[in-house]
Amino acid sequence: MTKDECRKLVIDIISDIAPDEDLSAVKPDVRLRDQLQLDSMDFLDIVMELRKRHGIEVPEADYMQLASLDSCADYLTPKFQAKA
């Protein structure tokens, strides 16, 4: 799992949660909240979909690590690699 692949997995999840958002031009280094209309319910869903689809656990204290695509990749890639 590379960081690029990880970013893509997160985008896949967001596109299922919020199909009404245009994800074609999401900037990886900008907070998702600042470029998309995602609320706390949507972020909870990202966490839960990560667990459901990939068996990845994100404890509540780490939710801020999911702020942007880049921070998602930094935080999640080692978790994916640890599972592989």
Partner: protein, 474 residues
Amino acid sequence: MKDSPYDVAIIGAGMSGLAAGIRLAHFGKKVCIFERHNAPGGLNSFYSIAGRKFDVGLHAMTNYVPPGVKGTPLVKLLRQLRIDRDEFALCPQKRSRVAFRDCDLKFTNDFTVLDAEVTTKFPAQADGWRSLVQLVKTYDDVALDAKPVSAREVVGRHLTDPLLTDMIFCPVMYYGSAQERDMEFGQFVIMFKALFLEGFARPLDGVRVIIRVLLEKYRQAGGERRMKCGVKKIIEREGRAAALQLDDGSEITANHVISSIGYPETMRACEPAHTMEADANLGALSFCETISVFKQAPATWGWGDDTIIFFNDSERFDYSRATELVDPRSGVICFPNNFDYAGTGELPEGLFRVTCLANHDRWSALAEPDYRAAKGNWLGEMQRSARRFLPAVDDAVLSANLATTDMFTPRTVRKFTGHLNGAIYGAPRKVKDGRTHLSNLYLCGTDQGFLGIIGAMLSGISMANYHILQKSAG
């Protein structure tokens, strides 16, 4: 006999129970919904007589926003349940009205229409109106820990004209208030947004489209559903709902129980029963609704412009339990034909629905022949009252076109929904955080307090998230 334990048992397959079930099943919980009736939908359901399908509950789905508008309850709901908005096939209203004796306020799904009506017809109230709208827009109406405040009191700080105040309260109360004469301000905000800032829509085929989508999502997510299988008792041990006794006498267990059947109804189902708590928060408001089916669309004789009309002819709008069988002074007219079905088809027949406040105890005290006679009598009375607010039409035109009529009373509501007193909007005091005296028993739906059909679904979603999914996600 004991079935294998569920993660979650949900009581009631209405909008809120189905929505909670979809969320929980989607995230891998072993869920079962128990429904006493053979039809899902609860307060928003449908029935067939002689091949005709009738909707109950749903006049119009509130909270409608066009595609592209985000952050509103409809969009949250679609996202949370992974529903594509095309699946609901919503068609917007044409126009609605609040019609009082000497004044009409028109409104559409475009808020500027109502805004202009109010500021033109009540120029002295314009500043107060604007500040009220501003407050509504910024108010956190879904906070689960909000303290109750009187809407009459808050609105009174902005609007001083009693006619305008009543005209605003009339639709808001008719579409969701379980409280007589006043309502909690948070509830007022939810309804004001749902009706005026957002708007009305419906699928061409009515509420069954929504129910069908929910059932299918629930099935795909792997949820289990047991129809004609109500929960008779919630058996309490050591502060927990330890088991559910079903109508057939069998028992099941679940780690969590979500009840959508209402606060007093849930308290009474507990074993031991919490009758005092139940009786201290019983709804008193119920309704009668008449429906006339015509061979042609109402537009044929000039009733084609209005989708919904909230009417009243009393000096002050009086939203309280009817003292007679029915209080025909105020009510709601709905023309399901008058939505903008552009391109998707038209309803096969004309429909004219009238809803008025009614007295549950009086209807329930009637012996069968008197009950039938009263229905016949009030069907005519309610329609006569409503027609005062519609363009005049000769009786002969209507009777020549009439295919059939039907009517429900508070007794019908109680029988099919289990709501005590036939209280459609449930208990006057809502339980926003859904908690009960039992640590693993939560409420959702009407008595949790998110109103309307979108609100009901969001209630199921919120309670499933808050009490179950968030806890297991952290």
